[in-house]
Symmetry: C2
Subunit: 284 residues, 2 copies
């Protein structure tokens, strides 16, 4: 007798909601960081920003309840909603609400013996503030001084990132600008520069601003292969030779440097601040 | 008789520490968001990333205790340290530790009935991951298509930001790229474009990708004055005329647009996602 074995249904995936009356960046940052501690569990992540009316709160509750109906698993809710009225509506959903924000604000208020002044949204710098100007200036500095495009403005640089082609200099420069208002130029050391075993003339006067990024050879090969498959530029021999040469420069010139192979842009940027002691221009 | 009244000492400022075994971005984001709810209280903010050894934890405790000695006010500590051993050392400081992370992780573990897999550091995408590649591609797309530099690659754009000169297009494009992997071009509508009351020819085929940024006239004047004081470009009459013309285009061409005058780059970017329904390429 043939027994039909039904395919088991796919395992239900629990939803996690990051909800805020503002951008939801805080709820999302904290929520993702917490969920990353359960790396072998899959979550269906949903971000709902700008829940700042009763109507929008009710719509969010409907979304949460639908997620519960679908998976039969109580969604996790991370919210940073300031209004009591709106938060209570969110709390009425069929979900496990960690209710982080309200509890923490009350604990801080008790500790510092001071009432909060509740207002929605983070203290980000808007487009007419000094912080915003510092940010924009830094972004334009990074753009103008990307990839060795211009080397005549290094007097104004807070830092000059150097490294081989495709070692992460450009996104790091832009992140430093956007996040910290730091003016970062970047300069790729090319084969020509590396042949001389010397710093390029344009960089020599700015020795104390230099910071090197390095990356494992096999990763460098892989990244370059994606860009120009089969080229000499992407060959193992070429990458090995460039690596040897740049390490010799870092070492003989005593240039601080960092292997970024396992790092995100966020990590590269915060490590650079830590290693160099460079001060943020905004944000603290 | 002359009575000497001593100047009262300046009020003591309480310190707030954001401490992590990783970048401290989560601790800082949450901590700043919470403290922003006490906007009339001043805090001395100190970020201590990469506290991943007992020795570094002890050094952090010394810093916290010094802050307490100076102000006689218990510092607030926001930490996201995963290791029990290191967290206990931090907890020994003379401070009020909100101990957010550990408590929340345990609550999540109970709710989802699953043990955490503790590991330091956020789940950011490192330089050899798909997310990283999407990020880098988006950053390079934004750089190559900044400020109308090139209009032949708009087929590959997820969105094309338009607006007057100095309305926040460039930093928004870069933020969309770095944070969400979205490929954003940007194109400034200049006097020449505005005179015709029509969309520039380069933009016409991409009507459905256009998104307009606007800014209050008085702010635009102020921002342009800082760039070119006394110029016609920065005059009230010129700015008013450009505003009138661009609003006419947005309205006649039915282009979604956003007044970003009171917004941070973070807020502009998240609002654009919300209004357009554009999907992130990374991060969710």
């Amino acid at each position: 007798m043939y027994v039909h074995t039904p395919t088991p249904p796919p395992p239900a995936i629990r939803s996690a909601f990051f909800i805020s009356d503002g951008t939801a960046i805080t709820a999302e940052t904290l929520g993702k960081s917490l969920l990353s501690q359960f790396s072998d569990v899959e979550f269906d992540i949903q971000v709902i920003p700008y829940v700042d009316t009763i109507e929008l709160a009710k719509q969010a509750v409907e979304r949460i309840n639908r997620a519960f109906e679908t998976s039969k698993l109580r969604p996790l809710v991370f919210d940073t909603i300031v209004s009591d009225e709106i938060r209570e509506i969110i709390n009425s959903a069929n979900a496990y609400n960690l209710d982080i924000y309200e509890g923490l604000i009350n604990r801080i208020a008790t500790e510092i013996n001071h009432e909060p002044n509740p207002h929605a949204g983070m203290a980000h710098s808007h487009v007419d503030s000094d912080d915003y100007k510092a940010r924009i200036d830094a972004v334009h500095f990074a753009l103008d001084n990307d990839d060795g495009a211009r080397t005549t403005h290094y007097d104004g640089a807070d830092i000059i990132l150097i490294g081989l082609s495709r070692s992460g200099k450009t996104p790091t420069s832009l992140y430093l600008a956007l996040q910290y208002g730091i003016r970062a130029a970047n300069y790729p050391l090319t084969e020509e520069d590396l042949d001389t075993s010397q710093l390029p003339a344009a960089l020599k006067p700015y020795h104390n601003k230099l910071f090197g990024l390095t990356i494992d050879t096999e990763r460098l090969v892989r990244i370059r292969q994606e860009r120009r498959a089969g080229s000499r530029y992407a060959s193992l021999a070429q990458c090995q030779e460039e690596q040897r040469a740049i390490q010799a420069i870092y070492s003989s010139q005593k240039i601080p440097n960092l292997n970024v192979s396992e790092m995100s842009v966020e990590e590269i940027a915060t490590r650079i601040l830590q290693i160099t002691g460079l001060k943020r221009r905004i944000g603290v």
